[in-house]
Amino acid sequence: MAAFTLKINGREHQIDVDPGTPLLWAIRDNVGLTGTKYGCGVAQCGACTVYVDGQTVRSCSLPVSAVGKSEVTTIEGLTSKEAVAVQKAWAAHDVPQCGYCQSGQVMSAAALLGLNPKPTDQDIDLAMNGNICRCATYVRIRAAIHSAAKSLEG
């Protein structure tokens, strides 16, 4: 066990865990933020996507000891204009079915729009193919990302 200070959504949290504990479980079990989901634990599904210093990261596969002083953002702390546009578009298109993958999808989609305000279908496929949706809501994810991009124009 070791003490760590995690900076999550702008707040510092002291936790005492095994250094190998994946960031995902520190966020969920120690900090108590449960919007970030567990789907595979092996960086295959993207349900656990968070930002570490603004980069999308699979939190199930990043040990707490490697986070250091980096800023972590979870779905609860998502406030960028891209994120707001994405969440609006998600509701407008009724993207979610079971919804369990959608925190991760929204995190990845908002990050994509931050880097590329006008993604093509191919850009979307490339940026989003690390996020599995077992309900296969992919058609609507694509459409909603295009809508969000449009809403951010001008």
């Binding site: 919804g99 993958c101 609507r140």
Partner: protein, 727 residues
């Protein structure tokens, strides 16, 4: 619109407690009460006989919360039930909310099952009238209350978009009149609207899903998110082979892991209790367990396939016969024979299996995504030795199911209660299965084989024989009596025994085999394999007969207007006859009825380096009255993506009885870059509404196979199409 994921009144549904919580009207009595009511809280326990049949709570803030007797894990029953109620109540959509009804087999039974449960794409089908009546009765009671209050005749009162009005200028929302409405007698048979007056049912854009916002911002609560104070996370080490038992174990190293609270032997294996997932998982890996495999299944799928093949050479138990297939084969003509092999499939819902319970000694309360609350409830009570009235079971949102959470064996409820019992009362426990536990934990779509034989003569299909070898889902389950005829499991042959085509000589027979691998219904159940076998084979026979796949099918469907209807609709949508395809592309078609919903699909694909690439799917669906058109489209889209991922990549092979695939790296799932474009047409219908959760799945696989055949490739006879592919 926010889902009412945790309304104040969600766990205390007695009439009294709802009133306390500020709910104005709690609507009662559409299902006959027989004096049995399951307690949901202390207050109800004291008054078991007066628990009302509550489907609807009108708050003083005008919100209308529908208590949904079906679990919401993506297929949209929250929105569907609320649509039915709101339609007859003349509510405004923005005031509607939904939450899960608690477990109560009397009040909240599925009218098709007789117990509370979700499955068989039945939510809308069994609730269509019931929920409309709830809305209509509530409306009548509100109107009566207004008439009373305003001293005007009820007939002069109108209700529109949540506002109750009289010509005198008097008007009110629902909330202000709700308490008074509750004093009014509930009409026994409230008048329902004529469909021509519908404002929400079947109307494009009239409603949006009630759960979209909460599911886009991380606030929707699933079982994995439960964090009641003092909750322990429990992981169980289970036998790597089905039927294996713990012979002995050494927990010394596991116990030393910081955060581990206890380790106990339980009927399924060894349970690790810890104050979080990671310590529990770390400790579980340090357990040294010797397994007793003397009663375990030790055959692998390669061996099973050999055994199945050998059986298929002989005729099985007769399911259906018309004419004389053997005589027709003996007469000559073009005899076509093929075999189709279908692997074990895991459901792999995005949220792996889990469940929560707090056993307090005299009472217990459980919360999780229970798809069959009635048997789960009884199982928990039995393990804990409690009267069922002392056990509360609350269904919450679940991250998908595809059949996995509908456990007729109640194995998760049992394991949950067993781990709670093993550590003793007063310790809330959250049982968590890892993804690997889920993939390797059984309850698969049965491994099965179809041996098909058909005769084509003079351009016509004159004989058809389908010998099926497979495992029974229902045998030994509480549903055995209901679903098995002459000892044969209808879910093993549904769709193969009643094909939509007129063939004069027909036979379907079944070898029902016992394998020690637990199996379960998997999104569209028997149709997952019978749909493929029938639709790939009929296409092959029509090809041999020199007929067009659409015209040829239609010619044999004279007495199947709804099959023909969707087939014609999809042909039109895709411009089957006229479309000019890019070089290297081809199209295939298939039509399958399941759960009384008719779906036809056309697939356009080309062959990539590694296999088929599906570019576009056209889909026509006839599900009777279309209650929520956009949810129907969403279910067709999702069903198509789910089906495509599995026919391309998915299988759970067994080696010496041990399931091999453990995660999405070895059980590959469809990803967004592989998702085709999809166009859906809903065929207008005035028939009773039927479900859409499953029926989008079956036609996709055979339509892919049939398109491959158009490119001169064999129709795949062993699924998945790309077995070697992992992510």
């Amino acid at each position: 619109m926010n889902a009412h994921v945790k309304p104040a009144a969600s766990t205390a549904l007695s009439r009294r407690s709802l009133l306390k919580a500020g709910a104005g009207l709690v609507l009662a009595t559409y299902v006959a009460r027989n004096g049995v009511a399951y307690a949901q809280d202390g207050a109800a326990a004291k008054s078991v006989n007066i628990a009302p049949n509550t489907f609807l709570v009108i708050g003083q803030d005008d919100t209308v919360t529908v208590l949904c007797k079906h679990i919401e894990f993506g297929q949209g029953p929250f929105t569907g039930m609320a649509t039915l109620v709101a339609e007859e109540l003349d509510a405004d959509w923005t005031q509607m909310r939904a939450d899960h009804a608690p477990s109560n087999p009397v009040l909240y039974k599925n009218l098709l099952f007789g117990v509370q449960g979700t499955g068989g794409s039945s939510a809308i089908a069994n609730s269509y009238e019931q929920m409309r009546k709830v809305g209509a009765a509530a409306r009548a009671m509100l109107v009566a209350a207004a008439a009373d209050e305003w001293k005007v005749p009820a007939e002069e009162i109108t209700v529109e978009k949540g506002i109750i009005k009289h010509a005198s200028g008097k008007q009110s929302g629902f909330g202000a009149l709700a308490a008074k409405a509750m004093q009014q007698p509930a009409p026994a048979n409230p008048q329902l609207k004529d469909p021509s007056a519908f404002k929400l049912i079947g109307k494009e854009g009239a409603v949006t899903r009630l759960d979209s916002v909460a599911k886009s911002n991380g606030t929707a609560e699933y079982t994995l998110d439960i964090k009641d104070p003092g909750t322990l996370t429990v992981l169980v080490a289970r036998s790597p082979r089905f039927g294996g038992k713990v012979a002995s174990f050494d927990a010394a190293a596991a116990k030393a892991v910081p955060g581990v609270v206890d380790i106990k032997k339980v009927p399924n294996g060894v349970a690790v209790y810890a104050d979080g997932f990671w310590p529990a998982k770390t400790a579980r890996e340090l357990l040294k367990i010797t397994w007793d495999d003397s009663k375990a299944e030790t055959r692998g799928t390669a061996q099973l396939l050999e055994e199945f093949r050998a059986r298929a050479k002989k005729q099985g138990a007769l399911v259906k016969q018309e004419g004389d297939v053997d005589a027709e084969i003996a007469k000559g003509g073009k005899l076509i024979e093929t075999e189709f092999v279908f692997p074990y499939l895991a459901h792999a819902p995005m949220e792996p299996i889990n469940a929560f319970i707090h056993w307090k000694g005299e009472t217990a309360s459980a919360r999780y995504g229970s798809q069959f609350p009635t048997p789960d409830h009884a199982a928990i009570a039995q393990v804990l030795g409690l009267d069922i009235a002392k056990v509360e079971l609350k269904t919450i949102l679940a991250g998908g199911s595809f059949g996995r959470r509908a456990q007729q064996s109640t194995h998760v409820a049992l394991e949950l209660a067993q781990v709670a019992k093993a550590i003793g009362p007063g310790r809330p426990v959250k049982l968590v299965w890892t993804r690997e536990d889920d993939m390797r934990g059984g309850y698969y779509r049965p491994f099965s084989l179809h041996r098909m034989r058909g005769v084509v003569r003079d351009g016509k299909i004159v004989a058809w024989s389908d010998t099926i070898v497979g495992q029974s889902i229902m045998k030994g389950s509480p549903f055995e009596a209901m679903t098995m005829k002459n000892g044969l499991d209808s879910t093993a042959y549904e769709g193969s025994n009643e094909i939509p085509y007129q063939v004069p000589n027909f036979r379907c027979d079944l070898h029902q085999v016992d394998v020690g691998v637990p199996v379960l219904w998997w999104r569209s159940v028997g149709h997952t394999h019978t749909g493929y076998a029938v639709e790939a084979f009929v296409d092959q026979l029509l090809e041999a007969a020199g007929q067009d796949p659409v015209e040829g099918r239609l010619a044999m469907m004279a007495d199947k207007p709804r099959h023909a209807g969707v087939l014609k609709a999809v042909a039109q949508l895709a411009d089957w006859k006229g479309a000019k395809l890019e070089a290297g592309r081809a199209r295939g078609v298939a039509v399958v009825e399941s759960f009384n919903t008719y779906v036809a699909q056309v697939v356009e694909l080309s062959m990539g380096q590694e296999g088929p690439v599906v570019h576009k799917v056209w889909c026509a669906v006839d599900c009777g009255v279309a209650v929520n058109p956009d949810i129907i489209r969403a279910q067709m889209e999702g069903g198509i993506g789910f089906a495509l991922g599995h026919i391309l990549y998915a299988q759970q092979p067994l080696e010496e009885g041990r399931p091999v695939a453990g995660n999405f790296d070895s059980y590959r799932s469809l990803r967004i870059n592989e998702m085709p474009q999809i166009e859906v047409a809903i065929v207008p219908s005035t028939e009773k509404p039927t479900g859409v959760g499953e029926p989008g799945v079956p036609p996709l696989g055979p339509a892919v196979a049939n398109a491959m055949a158009k490119l001169g490739l064999p129709r795949p006879t062993q699924l998945p199409i790309r077995p070697g592919d992992t992510a």
